[in-house]
Amino acid sequence: MRDLSSILPLVETAGPFNEVPEEYDPHDSLLSLATTKILVIGAGGLGCEILKNLALTGFKDIHVIDMDTIELSNLNRQFLFRPEDIGKSKAEVAARAIIARIGDDNLKITPYFGKIQDKPREYYRQFSVVISGLDSIEARRWINATLMALVDEETLVPLIDGGTEGLRGQSRVILPTISSCFECSLDLLSPKVTYPVCTIANTPRLPEHCIEWANQLQWPRHFPDRKFDADNPDDVDWMYQMAKTRADEFKIEGVTRSLTLGVVKNIIPAIASTNAVIAASCCNEAFKFVTNSNPLLNNYMMYSGDESIFTYTYPYAKKDNCPVCGNMPKWVKAERWWTLDQFIEELSTKQEVQMTRPSLTTSSRYLYLSNPEELEKLTRTNLSKKLSDLLAPGEEIVVTDPKLPISMKVLVEFVGSEVDPEFINK
């Protein structure tokens, strides 16, 4: 059982930079540290560090989600795992390892072995803050959009996102709708390394070209019905032999089994110390957020350990036309008896933007697509249907139009009667 003596000096008095010193109360800070529900997404390289840091700084109610299982190559840096854990869930093993090590009966860690997308959006509302240590852009975009969509009068769940790649990393604090979000900065991402197919097929010069030749062109030819499985040693061997033969033919050196695996799995080298630095920054922000002791990171910290150490913090600007945060749903009133056609008419004439040929969809169906012709024909029948029959309660509509920079999200508030009043009068 650990005491809090090391963190007490940080919370006993309001820090010199505290933004609300008159309201600051150390008692509240400690209480919120002990009761705050925090979610950690990812229990890998960053996740292990994050979980350890949170448990040691006094968080008591930690949830962790990870869909992966432990592999041999994780063990050099994912220090909560042991060789006998290979093949088991990262989230579950990590939770058990922390509990066993900290030995605090008040510490609760709830693991979930699965995808973040398995949980309904409302699941995320229970957390005060989410820290993510993810390795995929897709998952980051998902959690970013999900937390954005939760924002209402009571809820605003900050996302603290960490990421590392070799000797570089970044941590950022995303306050949904208030500061820039992950989607705002998508342009920053460097694209995945790809090679032209023609080079792969005809003029290989690098060992990677030979591996991609085996992976992209030979595998589908030999096994048209089966996906390559990087966890199956036979598959990896086949791929390696294929690439090696190709390399020998063109007198290219450097095709190894581990390079083969690296290229086909798109492995980015992971360095334990970079993970530690970035995880520390993320947990620092979570601690400050929960205890109010000091101002939060505003809002993007980049770290580069390539040559000595360089870090730079700056406020990444919100993107006005960000499809996720620059675009909060707008309420539009509609009569209950309106058909989709009448609603579109209302939308295209009464909004600030005069639309020319709007298209409308929801997450479950396409209401009306004005183009291409084929989809227009298929969705045209919806135009004469009642809007209130086409929408589930509270369902969001996305409107796109050539006149709109991205799109507009609309929520419908139904008013009036079910039947056209003029029709009743007749």
């Binding site: 609300v20 897709e138 694209p191 197919v197 097929a201 996305v398 991205i406």
Partner: protein, 187 residues
């Protein structure tokens, strides 16, 4: 979390000043990929030589294309392609495969296509229209410098007349160098 409360109050005051007060959240949300794709699809501006077909009208992430060039080596053929877009669009490019076995220097016998903007030069700022126009261009102007079907590329480089004859024959369902090609003259 005091700071957050402060920020929220500020935001609320601002919203009230602008006159919105209804702020309950929607029950479902639409992925960022769908937002972007809806924009790209509904604003497709294609020449009449390119037709799109949606086998599953409730899913515009997968669709088929038919390109019928009006000029060039491949004129009057009907070339079918399958377009697959994943949930990480526009970070990931659309995946396009040719469904016919055709004689083309930049398309191999499995239907893989060598087009820079589909791979190494893909960028999220490119629209779906631009990608499809790129594909169209490949049928109008086959390029011997980036070969995927080396034999076809060699013929095109050395003897364009022979290449033209080969394309003509292959498009009618014939053998070139003992490889059978699909008849693409039928609709």
């Amino acid at each position: 979390m005091l700071k957050l409360r402060q920020l929220k109050e500020k935001q609320k005051a601002q919203a009230a000043a602008e006159g919105h007060n209804n702020s309950s959240t929607p029950t479902t949300s639409i992925s960022a990929a769908q937002l972007r794709l809806q924009k790209d699809i509904t604003e497709l501006d294609l020449p009449h030589t390119i037709k799109v077909q949606f086998p599953d009208p409730s899913n515009f992430f997968t669709f088929n294309l038919t390109i019928t060039p009006q000029q060039g080596y491949y004129r009057s053929g009907h070339f079918h392609f399958k377009v697959d877009i994943n949930n990480n669009f526009p970070i990931d490019p659309p995946k396009i495969k040719c469904l016919n076995k055709i004689y083309h220097p930049n398309i191999d016998l499995e239907g893989n296509i060598c087009l820079n903007i589909l791979r190494e030069d893909w960028s999220p700022v490119l629209s779906l229209s631009q990608v499809l126009m790129g594909l169209n261009f490949l049928l109008l102007e086959p390029n011997a410098n980036d070969p995927l079907n080396k034999q076809a590329a060699n013929v095109l480089a050395k003897d364009p007349r022979q290449f033209e004859r080969n394309v003509y024959n292959s498009m009618r369902g014939g053998y070139i160098d003992s490889v059978y090609f699909d008849n693409v003259m039928k609709k």
